[in-house]
Amino acid sequence: MKLALGPVLYYWDRDTMLDFYDQMADAPVDIIYLGETVCSRRHLLRLQDYLDVAERLVAAGKEVVIATQTLIESEYDVKTLRRIAGNEKFRVEANDMGAVRLLANKTLFVAGSTLNVFNSQTLDLLAGLGATRWVMPVEMSRAALASVLRQRQSAVETEVFAYGRLPLAYSARCFTARHHNLQKDDCQFKCLDYEDGLALKTREGQPFLTLNGIQTQSALVHNLIGELDTLQDAGVDVVRVSPQAHHSGEILRLFRECMEQRLTSAQALSQIEGLMPAASCNGYWHDQPGLEFISR
């Protein structure tokens, strides 16, 4: 199995981003996804900046994929999408069918998790259009994945979101701006203040969700480091870690050591605990509510 780093889902300032990717150049990770996937108002890094970072990461031996924005609303969004799809250097992760239209039969691409591939028919169809890898929907279970992989005819790689706060929903509304009584068009870039998102708790204090601009994430951290053997058995080719503000490099190292069986899953689980911004969940993998944690 290969190890991948997903795109940064939060809004960090420019220097923080550039430093982060400087560090990732030396991190034990095979594939790095780059790009703004959440909000078109986040502009401290432009597409050209990402392409420059991509060059440096490729020079460091990484496979780089440019990820497209998930919610494409405006003509401006469509134009950005066209520029990404038309870049002739880097593979693209399509996170909307609009991106698939621009890439299909022209260039190879990665089918992102928001394309909602839940069955082998759709998987084979996308493979026929040029998908070389697909990322399973976050809410899909191990059993459902096994079933898709048993039935599919195409030889695409399978990637699973294996660590990080789960990206659960996308809206036209910005919940971070709403919290500050601001409209989205005048959000004052409040997301910059929340490096790991803005916590939403129930009225009895239970951490429930994380507000990240127009994206809503889980409060708990989806964590499959204890399940790497079952991922392997299910036929997963790529394991994705989603960046967080701190310790991403160490988390990648733990995943790597566990994948290479230099750490047992119990050791990895206990070592990773102190590096996480919240407790673990893994319910989705076990066909349970996503916020549950099933220990083995």
Binding site: L71, R101, T114, A169, L200, Q206, G290
Partner: protein, 336 residues
């Protein structure tokens, strides 16, 4: 010039609701089968094959259309169920099927080329490139657009595609892009994409406590009500939560979408159809909403320029709105 005919598409969660919608002026009704092939998979709702047959007969006898929602994503071990549903739709003479899954569209287009395909809102198509993808690949004729676009964005989208556009006009409001929301499965295990339900009734618990009436979803506190407050169904994005010490409707208020005042604009834009949400609601709801919207559309078609929303219509719709509140949602940009 009189604007093009705009279709009124009304919800039919049952045969009585279907007949009510037809009798009160729906141009089309939409329905689902009694299983997880549609996104209103609730006990006691939806149609058996025979019920659907009677529904189609009733609607066609009056010159109206029936659309079948098969708008969940076929799960890997259940492909046969979704495929059979497509075959049944063709056999029943449905006027269109409303689909979200590309694999299923491919099957429908190959096996039943005469069957008209609509892209469901669950397909999350918010731009013309996405809509054109489904059009070129499977020949979809209409797309139902998620409730996240401002009207100007809908206009821009329409300029880029030959596909007819259907918009939600009234009813429950999804704040999230439909098809891209897993909040319900995160909390309960079941979501619209996987099992055709959101915040499912089986996960709901009501409890009187000293602090007030509490609504929970799989144990998670969604809201708590003071004695003078009216309690609403605990749809999880419409609860009150704590963000940085402030308790409020952090995602969305319990409110219904109502676009009645936009009707002249929608007609002039050339929107093909207006959809009323609510297959899970009673025939009484269907009757009220269909009647008001029929009157409003007819009045607007007679004279678009001087169309005004009658207070009686708003009052009538207010009675059946969630939390008795109404919003223009994302069509009105500042909502975002």
């Amino acid at each position: 010039m009189q604007p093009e005919k705009i279709e009124l598409v009304c919800p039919a969660g049952s045969l009585p609701a279907l007949k009510t919608a037809i009798d009160h002026g729906a141009d089309c009704v939409y329905m689902g089968f009694r299983d997880d092939t549609n996104a209103r998979n609730f006990t006691g709702l939806n149609f058996s094959f025979d019920n659907a047959k009677e529904g189609v007969r009733y609607a066609h006898a009056k010159g109206r259309k029936v659309l079948l929602a098969l708008n969940t994503y076929p799960q890997a071990d259940g492909w046969q169920r979704w495929r059979t549903a497509i075959d049944n739709a063709a056999e029943l003479g449905m006027d269109a099927v409303i689909l979200a899954d590309p694999g299923l569209m491919q099957y429908a287009a190959k096996t039943h080329p005469e069957l008209r395909l609509h892209l469901s809102v669950q397909g999350s198509a918010t731009n013309y490139e996405a809509i054109n993808f489904y059009h070129e690949m499977f020949g979809i004729r209409r797309a139902v657009v998620p409730r996240v676009l401002a009207l100007a964005q809908v206009e821009q989208l329409m300029a880029g595609t030959p596909v007819e556009i259907e918009l939600f006009g009234f009813g429950g409001l999804c704040v999230m892009v439909e098809g891209r929301c897993a909040l319900s499965s995160y909390a309960t295990g079941d979501s619209p994409n996987t099992r055709g339900v959101c915040s499912p009734p089986k996960a709901v618990r009501w409890q009187e406590t000293p602090k007030g009436l509490e609504s929970r979803l799989n144990g998670i506190l969604i809201d708590r009500y003071d004695p003078e407050e009216k309690a609403g169904y605990p749809t999880l994005c419409k609860g009150r939560f704590d963000v940085e010490g402030e308790t409020y409707y952090a995602i969305e208020e319990p409110t219904s979408l109502n676009t009645l005042e936009l009707l002249p604009k929608l007609m002039n834009m050339g929107i093909a159809a207006i959809k009323i949400e609510g297959r899970q609601r009673s025939p009484a709801y269907v009757e009220q909403v269909t009647r008001v919207w029929r009157q409003a559309i007819d009045s607007c078609r007679r004279d678009t320029q001087s169309f005004t929303v009658k207070p009686a219509w708003m009052a009538e719709l207010g009675k059946v709105s969630e939390g008795q509140q109404q919003t223009l949602g994302a069509y009105y940009r500042p909502w975002k």
